[in-house]
């Protein structure tokens, strides 16, 4: 193309003229950079160097800056390099880039190993922060709940019902479907392996205890952490990003009371309901497979179930549900309020909400297992 930028070197006695021509614009930036880097090596080779830009067809910030950079690197030596032939149009642009100082240094690169150690240190130190944050939020939520108990009129029923619909009613189909399938699988696996000992019927014991005590509530809690915990974090996080939470505070509302208490309450009510439905669906699925695959007819299944399980198993499962809901909710709300201004931060905290939520649910389940074992339930 004819507009390609050039920089011709013309000797003028003791001095040297660098004649720029063509288009000195962003489109030609790679070529321009090469030309200028080459010309910068002329530094100090002549007593007097000047840059003639009268032939330049078009100039933009890229071109102007590169000419200015060339001028600077040529002037350092003994004499000041000059720019000649500047048209009135471009002189203001060149004046503009002349004000540009050197680029500020970016953060220095550390050793990789130091960076890794630093990261580990920060993470470990962050654990105590996480625990304190959770306890802090638990306290704030309980305080807000206490306030609402004293002044019941400040309770946000509409909001609670709305969230109950979101986390409970709308979750029913998927929760029932998944627990039903898990019940089917447990039953099929049980029958398949127990049959070798002729102990088919014990699949009912296994199914009953497993589903009512552990799987029902644990599985549902994990699903709720993924489904509703992430939603809470994302909602609160984007409200935090857009200063909506600050707006609430300035109007004299407590965000804990307005936003978090209804969500927590909805979750604490929803999880036992979902866990119950999930347990029933799993028992139904297990019974169905036991009948169709294992030849245990429904009547025998129910009789065996009545012998195998006691109400204790059911109570153990149901007692765990609201506690797990509270853990999920608190983790989700803490993470939501920790979101900073960027989209990336929102993503990180939503991920952290789900991961931590599931982790704490399983930890709680272990604590409950020890507790119930020691009181003999």
């Amino acid at each position: 193309m004819s507009g390609d930028p050039t920089l011709e070197r013309i000797a003028q006695g003791e001095g040297l003229a660098l004649c720029a021509a063509g288009n000195w614009t962003a489109r030609f930036a790679p070529a321009l950079e090469r030309i200028v880097s080459d010309a910068e090596k002329l530094r100090g080779s002549r007593s007097h160097i000047f840059i003639d830009v009268s032939q330049v067809a078009s100039l933009d910030t890229f071109g102007a800056w590169l000419i200015e950079r060339l001028r600077r690197s040529l002037s350092d030596a003994s004499a000041e390099a000059e720019i000649a032939g500047l048209s009135a149009n471009y002189s203001s642009l060149v004046d503009e880039v002349r004000r540009v100082g050197p680029a500020p240094k970016t953060a220095s690169n550390q050793l990789l190993i130091v960076g890794m150690l630093e990261q580990i240190g920060r993470t470990v130190a962050g654990i105590s922060g996480t625990i304190i944050g959770l306890v802090d939020m638990l306290g704030a939520v309980l305080a807000a709940a206490g306030k609402v108990l004293i002044h019941p009129r400040s309770f946000r029923l509409t909001s609670t019902v709305h969230h109950l619909e979101q986390v409970c009613l709308r979750a029913v189909p998927i929760v029932v479907l998944i627990t039903f399938l898990i019940g089917c699988i447990i039953s099929q696996q049980g029958i398949f392996h127990f049959r070798r000992f002729g102990a088919d019927i014990f699949v009912v014991d296994m199914l009953g205890v497993l589903v009512l005590r552990e799987i029902g509530v644990l599985l549902v809690a994990i699903m709720v952490a993924g489904r509703s915990g992430s939603a809470y974090t994302a909602e609160l996080g984007s409200m935090k990003m857009r200063e909506e939470i600050d707006a609430l505070r300035t109007m004299g509302f407590d965000p804990i009371e307005v936003l978090i208490l209804p969500r927590m309450l909805a979750l604490v009510l929803a999880l036992p309901i979902l866990a119950f439905l999930g347990a029933m669906a799993a028992l139904y699925g297990g019974g169905l497979v036991a009948w169709l695959y294992g030849g245990v007819d429904p009547e025998a299944f129910l009789l065996r179930l009545r012998d195998a399980i006691s109400i204790d198993h059911f109570i153990v499962g149901m007692v765990k549900a609201p506690v797990m809901a509270a853990v999920i909710g608190i983790v989700a709300c803490v993470e939501g309020l920790a979101v900073q201004g960027s989209a990336e931060s929102l993503g990180q905290h939503t991920t952290a909400s789900v991961v931590k939520g599931i982790f704490f649910v399983i930890v709680m389940d272990g604590v409950f297992a020890i507790f119930f074992a020691s009181i003999g339930m």
Partner: protein, 256 residues
């Protein structure tokens, strides 16, 4: 308004845009000439931003024809379209900076994608752009959430100018700036227009900007351009909204 203007950098013909059953733009024609600063005004909700977004290609139109740099954007293939997109810059109303990138990375983003140049040059260009839009080079390592509203506007302008475009769309560039900052911004747009030969399409409500920065003003109303011309033309117009806008209390304050 069918006369062909050879020098028109944007040529909009008979554009209709509809959201549901609400017709926002109704057979609108508009020309933007090369090298001018066009101020685009109109009542709130008249569809100024919609027209801008339609020209950029973010809002689908029902009918009509849009040419930018002589390229019909509907008929253009993807390479032609990219070519056009490289030659314009857009400043969104809220800045639309990438929140997970620093100011430096935001400004470098288009250049890094389109040009194969060294990191050193990219860093230097960032400093140059920041100085041009009146910011200190130290803000380069901050994230958008750590900037004030006015700084966000300036950084967004720097990003819009990153590839030295020939045409920039500014959607309410001075809203949310203090009067001095807004005046500086107008001056900046003027300087850039002079030095870089920019064509500027500026949606604005700022009477000061219209007086000091704009060469020509177009007024949107009822989905059409109801008037286009200089400030003097606007003040002479008999249209009630224009009368109120340019001869109202605030306008008199500006002139005085």
């Amino acid at each position: 308004m069918a006369e062909q203007d050879i020098d028109a950098i944007i040529r909009v013909r008979d554009i209709t845009v509809q959201f549901g059953s609400t017709r926002v733009l109704d057979g609108l024609d508009l020309d933007v000439k090369r090298g001018e600063i066009l101020g685009f005004v109109g009542p709130s909700g008249a569809g100024k931003s919609v027209l801008t977004r339609t020209i950029i290609g973010l809002v689908p139109k029902v009918s009509g024809r849009i040419e930018v740099f002589g390229v019909d954007l509907d008929a253009a293939n993807s390479a032609q379209r990219r070519g056009v997109e490289r030659r314009w810059g857009v400043l969104f109303q809220q800045g639309a900076l990438f929140s997970s990138l620093t100011v430096r990375q935001n400004i470098q983003f288009p250049a890094r994608e389109y040009l194969r140049v060294s990191q050193r040059l990219l860093d230097e260009i960032v400093v140059a752009k920041l100085v041009m839009v009146g910011l200190k080079p130290e803000v380069a390592d901050r994230y958008p959430s750590e900037l004030s509203g006015g700084m966000i506007k300036r950084v967004a302008l720097a990003r819009a100018l990153a590839l030295d475009p020939e045409l920039v769309f500014l959607d309410e560039p001075t809203s949310g700036l203090d009067p001095i900052g807004a005046g500086d911004f107008d001056e900046l747009v003027r300087t850039l227009q002079r030095t870089l030969g920019l064509t500027v399409f500026m949606v604005t409500h700022d009477l000061d900007s219209l007086y000091t920065a704009c060469d020509r003003i177009a007024v949107l109303g009822n989905g059409k351009i109801i008037a286009a011309g200089s400030i003097a033309d606007m003040k002479a117009s008999q249209h009630p909204w224009l009368q109120q806008y340019f001869n109202g209390k605030r306008a008199r304050a500006v002139v005085a």
